[in-house]
């Protein structure tokens, strides 16, 4: 773990730098800290930060950029004609990476010497067989171009890591030396340190943007890869979801979208009436005692992890529904409408329970934001409380409540564990809520877990699904927040 050591050494250096810088500053002022421009500790911080921060920054950038650089260098080694017809450069590169990782493993387990790994020739030795011995399974025999590329891949990453350690250490040393030499009683250390800290604060704040960019890019590139392997018309407009790992799959999002929306609608049918009436009662009728008792209890439902709801759906609600609607003669209703515990209704109802506090606390805020004068006016004209609520408060709060429902819908669409455990795995268009159906999130999980091959459309489709999900939920959120914000401005 050379990386860990590098970071630890840098940290140790910066602690040492702090004390050295502080000491030198004090010494330059003859031990009288009143002669210094800044407090002594600022000189120490200056030395520590100038040494540490640029070095760590370069380290992070290097770690991010090295794979990209090596990728482009190695892929230029693979000639056009070495790419089989049904394949792409990306697929060949993933082979290259796997061979390179296999060679690394072989060296680290002592099966091969480093020289062997470097000089192996696929013409002379059975690379696939030897890597298979240590548990690296390769799909096909290793072609000479691929092995060559894999070997230069290993070379480049080894040189890269060595160079990285050297460069980072150099930058740290230069930083320390420079700031140490600048340390003097007239040096404006506080200003410099504060500028540096400000830069760090800005960096932290922009991490949120980096995350978003990361999300979009990571899914975007793989989605492009997917569309180069699979037609986009089938993905958006086809009618069947039938992944087939031997190829020739039909991967259409429409049946998944149907399942997702169906379950979300059922969840909202459960959550919106209950949540809304609970919010109305709590904000308009309930006295303080009831409010302070019921509100936190309801909000517990929001704090329960979704895995718990998933288990509840799979092991409690599902079997209970089967007892009602299934089991033929033995069932409570004596009908045979439901065969398994997983169904749209199971997932929808449980998701609805999860969303009750979400809807109720958002609506509660919104109802409370309606000015009291409107209620007083209505009550003064002789309307009953419920008439006031229905005809004055609700219309005023409606945009906000629509926003809350949209936010709840976005939560429902993106919810994963409940549908993975409660909804089933069959992709189809059906209006029967007692059948099991599948959703976008369920398919993302099942396409990306287990043995995945990032060169096959069956795996890559998960990224296209993820991007669609992201766009869908983001759109709903932006819309909902815009509605809520606009509404708030009216009464502020």
């Amino acid at each position: 773990m050379p990386l860990l050591w590098l970071v630890l050494i840098l940290l140790a250096l910066s602690v040492a730098g702090f004390f050295l810088g502080r000491q030198r500053a004090l010494a330059s002022a003859g031990g009288n800290s009143k002669d210094l421009h800044s407090l002594p500790s600022y000189y120490g911080h200056n030395v520590a930060l100038t040494g540490l921060v640029p070095a760590l920054g370069v380290l992070a950038i290097w770690l991010l950029a090295q794979p990209l650089f090596i990728e482009s260098r190695v892929s230029s080694l693979i000639p056009e004609e070495a790419i089989p017809e049904s394949s792409t450069l990306g697929l060949v590169m993933s082979d290259v990476r796997r061979v390179a990782e296999g060679l690394d493993l072989a060296v680290s387990e002592g099966v091969m010497t480093p020289e062997q790994a470097r000089n192996m020739r696929s013409e002379f030795s059975d690379v696939r067989g030897r890597l298979g011995e240590i548990g690296v399974a390769l799909g096909s025999d290793v072609r000479p171009e691929v092995l060559n590329a894999a070997q230069s891949y290993r070379n480049l990453s080894n040189t890269g890591t060595t160079a990285m350690i050297f460069v980072v250490a150099l930058i740290a040393a230069v930083g320390f030396a420079y700031s140490y030499s600048k340390t003097h009683k007239d040096f404006r250390a506080r200003n410099v340190v504060e500028q540096g800290i400000m830069a760090l604060l800005i960096l932290a704040a922009s991490l949120a943007i980096l995350t978003t960019i990361g999300i979009v890019l990571s899914m975007f590139f793989e989605t492009i890869n997917f569309f180069s392997l699979h037609s986009w018309t089938d993905f958006f407009f086809g009618g069947t979801w039938a992944p087939n790992f031997r190829g020739d799959s039909e991967l259409s999002i429409l049946p998944l979208l149907w399942g997702t929306l169906y379950i979300s609608v059922i969840a909202l049918l459960v959550a919106v009436p209950i949540g809304l009436f609970a919010a109305i009662y709590l904000s308009e009728y309930a006295n303080n005692a009831v409010r302070s008792f019921a509100k936190p209890l309801l909000e517990i439902l929001a704090g329960i992890p979704t895995i718990v709801y998933g288990l509840f759906a799979l092991l409690t609600v599902g079997p209970a529904l089967v007892r009602f609607f299934g089991q033929g003669e033995n069932g409570i209703l004596g009908v045979e409408w439901m065969s398994g515990a997983t169904s749209v209704l199971t997932a929808g109802v449980v998701m609805g329970i999860m969303l009750i506090p979400f809807v109720s606390s958002l609506s509660d805020d919104i109802i409370n934001a309606v000015p009291q004068a409107m209620r007083d006016g209505s009550l003064g004209l002789g309307a009953t409380k419920s008439e006031t609520i229905r005809q004055v408060v609700m219309p005023a709060a409606l945009p906000g409540i629509v926003g809350a429902v949209l936010l709840a819908a976005s939560r429902a669409i993106g919810e994963t564990m409940i549908v993975v455990m409660g909804a089933g795995a069959i992709a189809k268009f059906s209006a029967n809520p007692l059948e099991s159906m599948t959703t976008i999130t369920t398919r993302i999980v099942s396409q990306l877990t287990g043995d995945t091959d990032f060169a096959s459309p069956e795996t890559l489709v998960a990224f296209a699904l993820g991007l669609t999900l992201f766009v869908l939920t983001l759109g709903l959120n932006v819309l909902a927040l815009a509605i809520v914000r606009k509404y708030r401005e009216q009464y502020d």
Binding site: M198, A204, A208, L301, I307, M421, T441, V445, T473
Partner: protein
């Protein structure tokens, strides 16, 4: 005139007598109120059902059935050469231990005078498949005991455990090849003799997951370590980064389009489905940066990105609640803006920040979906990690992922474990939230 009035019939509308319309309106009022009460009742009922379900189904996992036997560690089987050479003893596989266990249970049954048509092999079927491994582990650790008779507490197999807990009933075992009704007769007799008994199951809380065939040996301890390491990563990264970002946005950021973008971005990130963060983690940390799959480090990084918006939002709220007079006073006595923030505002906001962080951590602790994508499911880590580096980098599971794993398995005995795991998970969450509430009550200052 007054007579005239008296003779006319009383007007149909009196203030004292309700008209039909008023009655309707009042009824509607009552109904409306009842809907509200009904909605709250349904919500609370669901909570009660959920909690009752978890407690009633999960408490069983904390009890486990054990069978106590006196095992004679035969030298002829375990150490044929008789020289107590550890290498030779290790050569005896768990397979070689099964006859010893068979003898032990047969001796016990005949010693107690229980009459049973079962053969020794069927009697040994009451024990967990783990029993031989348990015995072998003991012998390898204490080779000097070979030849002695040692009292052992073996795990009973999951059907026996289920029978004692009421999960397995005689009516349903006709097609079960793991248990027969003769075996259950024997279990009844052994329970009466005190050989089979239920005790508190520390192994469930501290132990590792077990394979599909041995639900009785599965525990959540190792995945708890996985969760712990992930939370360390989240705490170490999300707290400083979140606080730094909030300080910038709340105290220093100029009002311009860039700040607006960052703010909108953070509020939207808070609502991105958690599975999308899993995809990000898979693509960036595993596929691009080649960090190890199933490692708590990667899980922690993903959860960090996920909890950052929560922490930023709550930190900004607590920074905002510090009155400007504090800043003004600090600036007035000559502090720089940075000093005012770091020396005065931040310490005053610390309880709020801490509360927000704990709530964010609790949220991250219960999150499952992103962990599925970075491979923290389906992996059986058999030993707790040794040291911090191994804890961060070697494959492990996490509590919610472990629960999901158990829920997926076919044997219903694992369901009990899953519910039990949820009890443990919820205990953690309740504790964290209680600490957060106490912190807020204790240290929050009203200005």
């Amino acid at each position: 005139m007054s007579e005239n009035t008296q003779n006319t019939p009383r007007p149909s509308s009196s203030l004292l007598e309700l008209t039909d319309r008023t009655k309707r309106r009042n009824a509607a009022e009552k109904r409306f109120r009842a809907y509200g009460i009904g909605a709250i009742a349904i919500g609370l009922l669901m909570l009660a059902v959920l909690v009752f379900n978890i407690v009633s189904k999960g408490t069983g996992a904390f009890q486990q059935t054990f069978i106590t036997l006196d095992v004679e560690l035969l030298e002829s089987k375990l150490d044929k050469k008789g020289n107590r050479d550890l290498a030779d003893i290790k050569k005896v596989t768990t397979f070689g231990y099964s006859p010893i266990i068979r003898n032990a249970i047969e001796a016990k049954v005949t010693g107690l005078g229980i009459d049973t048509p079962l053969k020794a092999k069927a009697m040994a079927g009451l024990l967990s498949k783990d029993a031989a491994a348990q015995l072998r582990e003991f012998v390898v650790a204490n080779p000097e005991k070979i030849g002695d008779t040692v009292e052992f507490r073996f795990l009973a197999q999951s059907r026996v455990d289920g029978y004692l807990k009421g999960r397995v009933i005689r009516a349903n075992i006709a097609n079960d090849k793991n248990i027969s009704s003769e075996q259950l007769d024997l279990v009844d007799a052994l329970v009466e003799a005190g050989v089979i008994a239920k005790t508190f199951n520390w192994d469930f809380i501290l132990g590792a997951d077990a394979s599909d065939a041995r639900p009785e040996a599965a525990g959540i301890g190792v995945s708890m370590m996985g969760s712990l390491f992930m939370m360390l990563v989240v705490l170490a990264l999300a707290l400083p980064i979140g606080v730094a970002a909030s300080i910038y946005l709340e105290e220093f950021a100029p009002q311009n389009w860039l700040t607006d973008i960052i703010e909108v971005n953070i509020s939207n990130l808070a609502a991105v489905p958690s599975i999308v963060f899993g995809i990000l983690g898979l693509a960036v940390f595993i596929n691009y940066m080649h960090l190890p799959t199933s490692a708590p480090l990667v899980g922690g990084l993903v959860l960090t990105l996920m909890t950052l918006p929560t922490i930023i939002i709550s930190t900004r709220a607590s920074l905002k609640s510090v009155p400007p007079s504090i800043r003004d006073a600090a600036l007035g006595v000559g502090a720089s803006k940075m000093q005012a923030v770091f020396h005065h505002v931040l310490p005053l906001a610390a309880p709020g920040i801490l509360t927000g962080t704990i709530i964010g951590l609790a949220q991250a602790l219960g999150e499952t979906a992103p962990l599925l994508l970075i491979g923290m499911v389906g992996f059986i880590a058999s030993n707790p990690p040794q040291g911090i580096a191994e804890g961060l980098l070697s494959p492990n599971s996490a509590m919610p992922a472990q629960i999901f794993e158990w829920a997926k398995r076919a044997d219903p005995a694992f369901y009990e474990r899953a519910w039990g795991g949820i009890i443990i998970l919820l205990i953690f969450l309740v504790t964290m939230n209680t600490v957060a509430v106490i912190l807020r009550r204790r240290f929050e200052r009203r200005w």
